[in-house]
């Protein structure tokens, strides 16, 4: 990243592995030809790099909005959008035009400035979080030493913007949605970070590119040495995945929106492009957290099968993020929304204890040599509490069969 443009020959620029860096290098090279000052060149290079990320993920957002509707439709034996363009491919464009041309209504009782600020603030952390992910072997747009810390610090801003949206709307349903969002996101942030801590303990670093690089190689020649394929990593990965659904406000944890209960939650008083910005923030946040999950547990840009190292590493990242996003869609198609008390109970009585257990498991796994013996020790440590906790949760804490006083006698 620090190599001067002149040091890299043009053939290297167009190598498949280096392709994502092409815009940045081109801009830097062209500017250096004009003799611009060094500071300007590096700023322009950073802007080009950020532009690449933005462009890729905004188009991915547009595509995902279509794919999501298609997948949901297929899960319900419907066809999905197929009118705008070939297989509905122009649907995102049509949606965008619709959103842009709609009237932007600001309620009388709204805090005008905050009401405007909230949709901007919800996109911002998602974009910033996307910056620190290692997309390929050589490409991290913002290679921070404490990328994981930065990610969580920035990610916490989402709660704030959701609450600002609810508060500034000056209306009841948004306020209810914001209250739900705060309680939900704060609760799920705990197991989210706890489950990521195991990875930090084993890797010994907060740098995301380092975490991804450490998961190289294969066990027995075919099982990738990803963190997911360790006892603590499996549990932590699952917990991380569940928490990421809750953090991204997606079904079945979409209580802050809760269409059937509180109209659209914190977005109720928004219309037009501000409304679209909320969705953009939500989907970009989804990409970011899925990307983080991949980096922590699924080996980042590492190929899943040996002998495929010639495929550019960023292709593997894209493939993995597609699979994880598809899982999100599948889950959305399958499960109904939780009730708020069930949601909170699940977070505090099931997720957090399990996430805490992954920490000693990761430590034991590390200090017993990361081999077959470590499996023997750590697997029961996690499996037994999981089964006990899950069943106790089902028996005692989940509401039993409802008795109707007059119908059941």
């Amino acid at each position: 990243m620090t190599a001067s443009p002149a040091a890299v020959d043009a053939a290297g620029w167009f190598a498949p592995e280096q392709l994502p860096m092409l815009p940045q290098r081109l801009v830097e090279h062209l500017l250096s030809l004009t003799g611009a000052p060094e500071v300007l060149i590096s700023i322009a290079g950073i802007a080009a790099s950020a532009g690449t990320v933005l462009l890729v993920f905004s188009s991915a957002f547009a595509l995902l909005s279509l794919i999501e509707r298609k997948v949901l439709a297929r899960a319900q034996n419907r066809i999905g959008p197929n009118r705008a363009g070939w297989f509905g491919l122009l649907q995102p464009l049509a949606d965008g035009i619709k959103m842009l041309t709609k009237e932007d209504v600001v309620p009388d009782k709204a805090e005008k400035f905050l009401h405007f600020l909230a949709p901007v603030l919800i996109v911002l952390p998602a974009i910033l979080a996307l910056g620190v992910l290692p997309y390929g072997r050589d490409w991290t747009p913002l290679p921070l030493e404490a990328g994981l810390l930065f990610f969580f610090a920035i990610g916490a801003l989402t709660e704030l913007s959701v609450f600002i949206a609810g508060w500034a709307s000056g209306s009841k349903f948004p306020m209810l949605g914001a209250m739900r969002a705060i309680s939900q996101m704060v609760s799920y942030e705990l197991p989210l970070i706890l489950s990521a801590l195991g990875v930090v303990m084993v890797s010994g670093t907060l740098s995301l590119q380092e975490i991804a690089a450490q998961q190289s190689g294969f066990h027995f020649g075919f099982i990738p040495a990803w963190n997911l394929f360790t006892p603590w990593g499996l549990v932590a990965g699952l917990l991380f995945f569940i928490c990421s659904i809750a953090e991204a406000n997606r079904s079945p944890f979409d209580l802050p929106e809760g269409e059937s209960e509180i109209v659209a939650g914190h977005m109720t008083e928004y219309s037009g492009f501000k409304y679209a910005l909320f969705f953009m923030g939500e989907y970009l946040g989804l990409f970011a957290i899925a990307g983080l999950g991949i980096t922590l547990f699924l080996g980042g840009w590492q190929p899943p099968v040996p002998g495929l190292a010639y495929v550019p590493s960023w292709v593997w990242f894209a493939a993995k993020i597609s699979v994880v996003i598809f899982l999100y869609l599948w889950i959305r198609a399958s499960f109904p929304r939780l009730r708020i008390d069930q949601l909170m109970r699940f977070a505090w009585l099931c997720m957090i204890p399990m996430a805490l257990l992954t920490l000693p498991a990761a430590a034991i796994w590390h200090f017993t040599g990361r081999g077959a013996f470590s499996w023997l020790v750590t697997l029961p440590l996690l499996l037994v509490p999981w089964i006990i906790l899950g069943n106790v949760f089902n028996r005692r804490l989940a509401p039993g069969r409802r008795r109707y006083r007059f119908a059941d006698g």
Partner: protein, 221 residues
Amino acid sequence: MNDATSSPKPPGKRWSLPGAGLLKGMAVTGRNLVGSFFTKERMTTVQYPEQRAPISPNFRNFPFLVHDGDDPDAGLRCVACSICEKECPPQCIYIVLERDAEGKSLKRPKIFDIDVSVCMNCGICAEVCPFDAIYMDGEYELSTGDRFEGLLFHKERLAKSADYHMRLRPKEATQVMERRKAEEEKKAAAAAAKAAKAKAVKDADANPTASANPKPEGGEA
């Protein structure tokens, strides 16, 4: 576990692998997700403007006028008796009888208007009509940009052939056709009998020696 066979416990009271139920649920949606690409029977969508779901024979909305033959104006069964106009609860029918120069009824409507924005699709007009002239239609694509003139249907718009009625509601139309045919035959037979009778009378008049007929000629049936 031991008494699982004797008394099935409710799902919450059995030991199980937590999360197994979620996987079962995802398998269901997953089957639909994949199956919808292979099994056409799964898909219930009707691609509306290109395809149409068949309408039920009992589906009815606004009325139409039946005409026999090809000419919508001359073949109209309606005789402008105005029974439907009087029976119509929201009074959406307006009929003017056509008369010739002397003011004699021509037994057909000069104006027959139905305001479908007022019509409530009750079907009383079709029930009361003694001439099988008005029936309920199955057409549902009636949206228009002009909510006054566009929703006021005139005679020309309302007239539809007996074949259309047959296609729309085969059972009902067949019954109507059979009844009408029987009536026509009866009428024809009556007319033939009358003609034969008249002929006989004429013959008797021409040849008084054959039989003496006391009945005077020209009696109306």
